[in-house]
Symmetry: C2
Subunit: 758 residues, 2 copies
């Protein structure tokens, strides 16, 4: 164990050493706008706590516990914490907040604090026991548990290169024991750096306790925090002593369960501690961290990375702390926790030695300069206590007026931030909006989310034994494979829909101009559209609403053939185009799209009107928002010119000025929800068409002249223009006008009907 | 009706005029190798006659009736006739043939001729009635019915431009009546050109008939053919007279049913003739055509096109034949049918006027020169009777020895031709082989095939009300959409399979060389493969079966990064790769692929051995055959050089010389069937993996060191390399060695279990 450093250096194991698996559990009180404990039930919107992997309750009904999945990098860890936070903040009642401090800012009478209303009665009984033993108020103390597992390949490489320990599981345990012991010896440095609970609501203290008179670094980190009673003594001398001591305490009733042992580090693996003796330690749980109130999610990414490096340095160092040294460490931690934030540490020299040990490790392993920077910042805080979080906190308490006020100021700020982009999920903003929304909903309802391929929007969703894979938020196991293949091919789609009895625009494809012109006999006197086979922007299209002359028809054919090798001549259908979003047996949303436009007010120029309209927070660029900013580029200015405007024109009040011909949202178009407006007969038609295509999720585009007039089989009031197998969802959820429709939740319900979401 | 020509000219309706819908029904006797009537049952391989759309029986159990679907061009019509013929020829017992003549070459006693054993007892009763009334032997006369419908757009355009007839359906009927009348008047020309039944088995004639003493143009076209008795007189004066005359004949019992009226042309539409009066005539059925014995399928494409033009010219001409003229036409036809094939037509001048009328029509409508050529050839036959089919036939009868001998010579030839490329389907050879095989199977079993998009291999299959869409022969409604999405993404596939507990090669992806090299610690001492992320031809791959030195490893990393921006380092798995083809709950085929190779015989050069091996009819080019020709290009010669050979080397007996490193069939590899060889445990694993991927059809590639040793969950004997959602099928059906597996039939069975194919 003492030669790990040498082994890592010689065998260049640095890249393996820095790997690991990480997880966080973060408690947090729900509070009212005044900063008082919310006495409401855990919100029903989070579904069932009996399985929820992300959003749980800890001790009390008001104490959230947010849990990240185990992940293999700090970046991912931070993303998950952000995402779970985002979901929680946006799902809480309007008048509830997450208290950003580890110590409560206000506490009701004990009787008003309700233990978590869990289904499992053993869990409830355990909480009642704790309440009686430690008092309910102490249970309100909240913090972050940091789970860390070394890379198996790294441990294996170390194991292979030695012969003194025979069993791999034993070898692994020895490494973790070294880390745990050194952690207990040196954790005081982390209390110095990250301690962030300088004060607490005055009624927190127990009757037999002398309340603290001045600010400290960490009340929670001191004996005032949530700690075991003095009689609970567990030796970290060896894994065996750890297991046996706890078992004895449980046997004699000093602890009700093994998990009642609250150590700053817990050895994890197996269901019972005794399993550690056979399987070895799997990972360590570091339980000492106060919330960083200046971090929206309780811990910054830099904090997480520094802690990781600190833990590594405890493995890296030559020494292994003895039980006596651990005892010293405990005393140094208590001392540090109760120091005034503005004072220089009593043990500054040791702290400097520790960060220098870290720097040496970084140097030897050739780790990045970014990491070095983190250690240098920590060193600066060791040299200057004013730079610590706790010192900053007491300054801000003074500035704002009170601990409670400061807490609420930060709470409100974090909640506001969570609503800045209600259509996206922090942590995963590089994914498509629809996927972000689906992940949001899955996290909210407690469906486990795995990202199989981020750039491909490929998710694995799991609820208990039920696994579903999802691509691009609505490509799932529910659709038949043939459905998207049909829809990918416009000609085949038309044939299938027409064959099943639905009205499609009559039309013909032509491969050469001679043939197309020869077919004039078929179009004389009829409303038609001549267009290149594949076009998205209206180029090469001619529309003859009342039938073309032969001359005009032939010109239109030549015009279209300039754009493509094949053209279509289709029946012209009068009416408005609507997107019907079908999921299974229901139309979940209907949308009308309008080309980019502004409405005149008789005062402002078009340029100013566009600027004004673009202030809508739903508008962004590059599909990162549900609506796109309206541009004033070449195409828009040309469009204005054709209407006799410039961008400096001032349209009269009420005049709609269009800046685009096409109604795509991607070119600044507006979206209007029509779900509740259109006659049901059209919805049924869209549902039936979806079934005819073998699909379950489908975006059906219908042209409808009059949506109030019912459509019938014999006299359909629509023509179907297109069917889409991966229809956009976010535009329905966040329309320009009208009610939003949470389609991702409907997809989740389709995949996991057993959750009973609706 | 008389101004149609002018209307077409003035309104440039030529392109509409030439459109139409076409269908053929072709009867044909099954005969033994001696040319005698096969007395076996209709082959069970064709499934159930109660719904078969393509392969039916006509009067007798030995009389096939092949039916094309209605199609919109002669090219398609010919393709369908070819395909249905191909299926029939290849499905008949080895010792049965399709008699290529309209008149039988031999006939058994009447008692031995069995009427078709149909399920529907009414149909059987009708045949028994015919047998009694006309004699069974007459029923053995076979021919082709040619169905023709004018384009609806064309008829509509004509209708719109006139005012004398109010109802569209009536107008349409008038056009068809003109065509039918003129046809009856002038069909003798077709008898002259296409008459091809100069003689018949001597025992064909009835007791009261004087047998013909010499060859004629068309026995079948004369009163010796299958015609009604003299009392059956139906007037074509008007549609009403036609309908009423037939009804009266049925009422008084002269006809048992309306369909017993055997006219050279039948007015079609509706279930009963009377429907024609309300809905109008839908199309015409021309029933006069003898088989062209020189056409493998009974009629050449040129014949079909000429007949179409001839029919058009009857619409085009100014006149409409009167009932008296029709009577003249009937007499002229009888006269023509019974003329000696070598004699000049009695009515040559009229024939010339008719083809000149056709040429004028082609000219006016600006139709293609190819069409003109057809008419000019017909004119040549009119001028020189030696050029007619019937004249050619009597020459060949003399040459071969007898009518029966000639028939069998042609029968054998056509059957052989059908087996030349047993892996393809004539008429549809431009489609993928797998699609051709699936179409073959569907046609054989009577599943209706619609081609929605030929270039996209998109089929619509129908059995009664059950519709299935199929793309690329095995992309269907049965697979979940997510399955191909998973398989398209190799990383996701690995994650899903590993997550479900299957053994995949361990591996890691690296985006830069520094990171990859840093991971050496993980690979030291292990068998690994270093490769560019996307490669198909082995470039940039390094294999270290026993673990690389650090230096070699780093060189391999740089080598791989020369080929791609990302590389994979994967566990090296020893063993042989097999393709498992899974459909649902069964592995339907297992294949081993070997790189292109030849086996030395101590005598021939490698070049000669390749030439020899390439003679295999299963080898072709461009995926048009199940195996590809072995090349001797740059890559192959380089491969030989590395082994110390040139193409002129003579390998010793039994030496296998590989010409390729990769085992792809597309580069000349060999395929070996292993379906019955490999232990069932591997098959179960492949089936389970397919289910884990959400797939029903899947090609699973397993590497197996020893396929006789069972694989278990805890100790899998395989590693799964890849899963394919559209696995090739034809290579299993036609392997280089071993039993072929008809996978397309299994797909058909999966789609239509109600057919009970297996």
């Amino acid at each position: 164990m003492n030669d790990i450093k040498t082994r890592i250096k010689n065998e260049k194991l640095g890249p393996a050493f820095i790997k690991g698996t990480f997880g966080l559990e973060k408690e947090g009180l729900r509070v009212t706008p005044t900063g008082d404990l919310a006495l409401t039930n855990h919100p029903a919107i989070f579904g069932n706590r009996s399985f929820h992997p992300y959003i749980q309750t800890d001790f009390s009904e008001s104490q959230l516990e947010l849990i990240t999945p185990p992940v293999e990098s700090i970046d991912e860890l931070y993303n998950w914490l952000a995402a779970i936070h985002d979901v929680t903040e946006r799902s809480l009642p309007k008048d509830e907040y997450i208290w950003p401090m580890s110590m409560p800012g206000a506490l009701p009478e004990e009787a008003q604090i309700s233990v978590a209303k869990l289904d499992n009665q053993e869990d409830v009984a355990y909480r009642i026991h704790l309440a009686e033993k430690y008092g309910k108020k102490k249970q309100m103390v909240s913090g972050i548990h940091y789970n860390f597992e070394l890379d198996a390949g790294f441990l294996n490489a170390l194991y292979q290169g030695q012969s003194s320990i025979k069993e791999y599981s034993q070898f692994k345990s020895e490494v973790y024991m070294k880390l745990a012991k050194n952690f207990l010896r040196y954790r005081w440095v982390l209390t110095y750096l990250f301690g962030a609970s300088p004060t607490v609501a005055s009624n927190f203290y127990q009757a037999d306790q002398e309340p603290l008179k001045d600010y400290v670094r960490s009340i929670r980190g001191s004996h005032y925090g949530y700690v075991n009673t003095k009689e609970i003594q567990v030796s970290f001398e060896s894994l065996e002593s750890y297991v046996e001591d706890i078992e004895e305490l449980v046997n004699k009733g000093a602890l009700s369960e093994e998990k009642e042992f609250y150590s700053a580090v817990r050895l994890r693996g197996g269901k019972r501690n005794r399993d550690l003796l056979t399987d070895g330690i799997h990972y360590l749980e570091f339980r000492m961290f106060d919330f960083n109130p200046y971090a929206a999610f309780g811990m910054t990414k830099e904090d997480m990375k520094f802690i990781h490096l600190f833990l590594m340095s405890l493995v890296w160092m030559d020494k292994i702390a003895t039980v006596e040294e651990i005892e010293v460490g405990n005393l140094m931690n208590e001392k540090t926790a109760l120091e005034h934030p503005n004072t220089v540490s009593n043990f500054q020299q040791e702290a400097i030695r520790l960060v220098d040990n870290m720097l040496e490790m970084l140097q030897s392993c050739e780790f990045s300069t970014e990491m070095k920077e983190l250690v240098i910042q920590a060193k600066a805080q060791i040299l200057d206590p004013q730079k610590t979080i706790s010192a900053r906190l007491i300054k801000d308490i003074a500035k704002v007026g009170s601990f409670k006020e400061l807490g609420m100021k930060l709470s409100r700020q974090y909640k506001e931030e969570a609503f800045l982009k209600p259509y996206s999920l922090r942590g995963f903003t590089s994914m498509e909006l629809s996927t972000q929304l689906l992940m949001f909903d899955a996290i909210q309802k407690g469906v486990e989310v795995g990202i199989l391929d981020a750039s491909e929007q490929f998710l694995k969703l799991r609820h208990l034994d039920h696994i579903e894979y999802v691509k691009n938020a609505n490509m799932t196991s529910k659709d038949q494979y043939i459905a998207p293949l049909i829809m990918e091919n416009k000609t085949v789609t038309k044939k299938v829909l027409a064959g099943a009895g639905y009205k499609v625009p009559a039309g013909e494809e032509y491969q050469n101009a001679r043939e197309a012109k020869g077919a004039y006999w078929n179009y004389a006197g009829k409303g038609i559209v001549v267009k290149p086979k594949s076009t998205n922007f209206g180029v090469g299209i001619s529309i003859f609403k009342d039938g073309p002359s032969r001359e005009d028809y032939e010109l239109a054919i030549d015009f279209a053939f300039k754009e493509d090798k094949a053209i279509l001549v289709e029946e012209f259908i009068t009416g408005t185009e609507y997107r019907f979003f079908v999921i299974g047996d229901a139309v979940k949303a209907i949308m009308l799209r309008m080309p980019a436009n502004v409405v005149g007010n008789g005062e402002q120029t078009i340029e100013a009107l566009v600027k004004e309209k673009n202030k809508d927070p739903l508008r962004g660029t590059d599909h990162l928002a549900p609506l796109e900013l309206i541009q004033l580029g070449e195409i828009e200015q040309l469009m204005l010119k054709e209407q006799g405007y410039t961008i400096q024109s001032i349209p009269t009040k009420g005049t709609i000025v269009y800046l685009r011909e096409n109604s795509n949202i991607s070119t600044g178009g507006d979206s209007f929800d029509y779900t509740d407006t259109i006659d049901d007969s059209y919805k049924q038609a869209a549902i039936d068409m979806t079934k005819a295509l073998g699909a379950v999720v489908c975006g059906v585009d219908l042209i409808i002249p009059d949506y109030t007039k019912p459509s019938t089989k014999t006299n359909p009031g629509y023509a179907v223009i297109e069917a889409n197998f991966n229809p956009a969802m976010h535009m329905h959820t966040f329309p320009y006008k009208g009610q939003g429709r949470r389609l991702t939740m409907a997809v989740l319900d389709m995949l996991f009907p057993e959750l009973g979401i609706f």
